[in-house]
């Protein structure tokens, strides 16, 4: 219910959501990429 309110409220404009999700997305993607490369390197030994 509360999480639904989070998206329903008007305080966050679409541009703000783009900045938030875009930045979080970049950071998460970078972390995942690092994890995949580390695991790949480990497999190669």
């Amino acid at each position: 219910m509360t999480l639904a309110l989070l998206f329903a409220e008007r305080s966050m404009t679409p541009v703000a959501w783009i900045f938030l999700l875009g930045t979080w997305g970049i950071i998460v993607a970078l972390n995942l990429w690092c994890v995949v490369r580390i695991l790949g390197a480990k497999r190669k030994g």
Binding site: E9, S11, V15, I27, L30, N31, I38
Partner: protein
């Protein structure tokens, strides 16, 4: 002094190393400083310079430091005097590297004091000590000021006893970890503390995002942080703040990343490990840093109140606003302890990392046993931190933070990147970076490391110097604080900065403050005053009784001047439930105006002394090495 790095301690696993390095980078600033800056400097638009600075300053410096560190470690050096001496065969190099011993010494002695606050507040949360109860009202601002010994009152704490106890425990824990060594101490700590830190972040973020709207909503907090104000994007101060934040958050310039890298083997990867360290730090900073304190503040104080909270500074958010929120929520012992332990672990993994180069210097260069090195560092630490605790009312920690934790770091990083790119050579450095690397760093970074990163560091140094001169940071000012006697027994609380008085009152208050400052500077000693006041229907200050003050201060505070200053300069108001309320019973307000010049000079002398001791130690140890080489040859 070992000439080969073969007999050095090593990390137990790559996972442990990454956690330890991330722990080094993740600190209190990730959770408090980042959201404060993001909100103040253009919201989402701040992220544009922030991410650009991450790519052009943060990541290149990370690779430079890891390369310097592993290269030094290969030759038996875990601290920057030996590392830079190896990279630049010039007598001056080791002395430049000695800055990387002096700066951490200064940094840990004040940072650990703050770390001790976090541990203390987790204990206070567990005991619900700062929760207001019937008959005991806790004003969190006064509570913190009295805990720190800054306030002229003793409503909640009678002295430094509690603060010292937690400081001693904190230093004891740090020394214990250092004494156990790299793998069995630092790595083990990281393997426990970092997962816990992530779990605590998730617990708090979930709690905040599931809070029902009260005075405001989570959404308003997020809007404050993320709504882009594009008009700010060309403001040089925004870029300066972004570059500074990238710098602090990645723990660049302390000599600690280099030290951690020195415990790697010759062909261990540093390119991917350095990048992973930075990205883990960014995960905590950008995601959790924006998901806890500010959204929670918006829920409990309302969207309009978020901006002044963000501007009130890192410690005010962490130690005043957050406790206010936590005690308003059910289950303070759980959520309060989680919040302050989160801050404590973030600080603990950083302080251990910053102290390790000093231990490594004593081990590698002076050939001390690890236990002796840890005890020596611990002794210096407890003496230094105790000095900071007793003198912080004169602004000593802020002074140390300016020189060692701000200017010193940038200047030292500039020295390191210039030696790496221009003296050791960018091509040679690039080859070192890629020895055993799991990834290829894009070639464009060669140009960035050689030109862009040093230029950004130069610009940051120039910008901060200009700001310090403009703001008068270099000239000590008297520290003026107030406290209300018997505050805990009243129904309401006294809020500072709660009202913005009319222009003419603020102008009169500024004149009174000028007179207080002039009186302290003229007398060259601490001055005191006390007066009795009542508070009107909206909580406004009224003189109710006589004002007694030190002779030098009496004229400045005569008549209604004291009340005018309290209202116009301090914005003091009596509040019940966050709203102005009347208080007919006179209360006594104490004012302490402290002469800081002498203590600031002593603090500057201590800092210069610590750097000088590092220079002398390096000179003696290298002379000894030369003498031994001659005998052996």
């Amino acid at each position: 002094m070992t000439e080969s790095g073969n007999d050095r301690e090593r990390w137990g696993s790559r996972f442990g190393l990454i956690l330890a390095a991330a722990g080094n980078a993740v600190g209190i600033g990730n959770l408090l400083r980042f959201p404060s800056l993001a909100g103040q400097y253009g919201g989402g638009a701040f992220l544009v310079p922030y991410l650009i600075c991450l790519v052009l300053l943060g990541l290149p410096m990370m690779w430079v430091l890891w390369t310097i560190g592993r290269y030094g470690g290969m030759h038996g050096h875990g601290s920057t005097p030996g590392m830079l001496d190896r990279m630049w065969r010039n007598p001056i190099a080791k002395y430049l590297g000695a800055i990387g011993i002096g700066l951490p010494m200064v940094f840990v002695i004040y940072y650990t004091y703050v770390e001790g606050w976090c541990l203390a507040y987790s204990w206070f949360s567990l005991r619900e000590d700062f929760a207001s109860t019937a008959g005991r009202t806790v004003n969190l601002r006064s509570y913190l000021a009295e805990f720190q010994g800054v306030a002229p009152t003793t409503n909640y704490f009678g002295g430094f006893g509690v603060a010292f106890a937690f400081l001693a425990i904190t230093i004891g824990l740090n020394v214990f970890v250092l004494w156990r060594g790299v793998s069995r101490g630092i790595e083990l700590l990281a393997k426990i503390a970092m997962p816990l830190l992530f779990v605590f972040c998730v617990i708090l973020a979930v709690r905040v995002f599931t809070l029902p709207p009260l005075k405001g909503s989570v959404n308003e907090g997020l809007a404050f942080l993320w709504t882009p104000d594009f008009s700010r994007i060309f403001d040089p101060n925004v870029w300066l703040a972004a570059a500074g934040q990238i710098f602090f958050t990645l723990s660049i310039g302390f000599g600690s990343m280099e030290c951690y890298a020195s415990y790697l083997r010759e062909k261990d990867d540093i390119a991917l490990t350095g990048l992973t360290t930075a990205s883990t730090n960014e995960f905590v900073e950008v995601i959790f840093g924006s998901a806890i304190a500010i959204p929670a503040a918006a829920v409990f104080f309302g969207g309009a109140a978020v901006e002044p909270i963000a501007k009130s500074g890192t410690f005010n958010i962490g130690m005043v606003s957050m406790p206010e929120i936590l005690r308003s929520m059910p289950n303070l012992p759980f959520y309060g302890t989680v919040w302050f332990l989160l801050l404590f672990f973030a600080a603990f993994t950083s302080s251990v990392a910053v102290a390790q180069p000093i231990v490594a210097f004593l081990q590698d260069e002076a050939r001390w046993k690890r236990s002796s090195a840890a005890i020596a560092v611990g002794t210096l630490w407890i003496v230094g931190s105790t000095f900071v605790m007793f003198t912080d009312r004169y602004g000593t920690s802020a002074e140390m933070d300016f020189w060692a934790g701000t200017m010193g770091l940038v200047v030292f990083s500039l020295i390191e990147v210039v030696i790496f790119a221009w003296i050791f050579g960018i091509h040679r450095g690039w080859g070192e970076l890629h020895r055993g690397a799991d990834i290829r760093v894009p070639r464009g970074f060669k140009f960035v490391i050689r030109w862009v990163t040093p230029l950004i560091l130069l610009a940051v140094t120039a910008g901060w110097t200009r700001n310090a001169i403009r703001d008068g940071t270099l000239v000590p000012k008297p520290a003026i604080s107030i406290g209300v006697v018997g505050e805990e027994a009243l129904e309401g609380q006294f809020a500072e900065g709660a009202v913005t008085a009319p222009e003419e009152i603020r102008a009169s208050a500024a004149e009174v403050e000028r007179r207080i400052v002039a009186a302290v500077k003229g007398a060259q000693k601490n001055l005191e005053a006390k007066g009795e006041f009542t508070f009107g229907a909206n909580g406004e200050v009224r003189t109710a009784g006589s004002i007694t003050a030190s002779a030098e201060l009496a004229e400045a505070l005569a008549g209604d001047a004291f009340a005018t200053w309290l209202e116009g300069a301090k914005g003091l108001r009596y509040e019940i439930g966050g709203k102005g309320a009347s208080l007919d019973r006179p209360v006594r307000v104490r004012l302490a105006a402290r002469f800081t010049d002498r203590m600031i000079r002593i603090t500057r002398g201590i800092m210069a002394g610590l750097v000088l001791v590092s220079f002398i130690a390096v000179g003696i140890l290298w002379a000894r090495r030369r003498a031994e080489s001659r005998v052996a040859g």
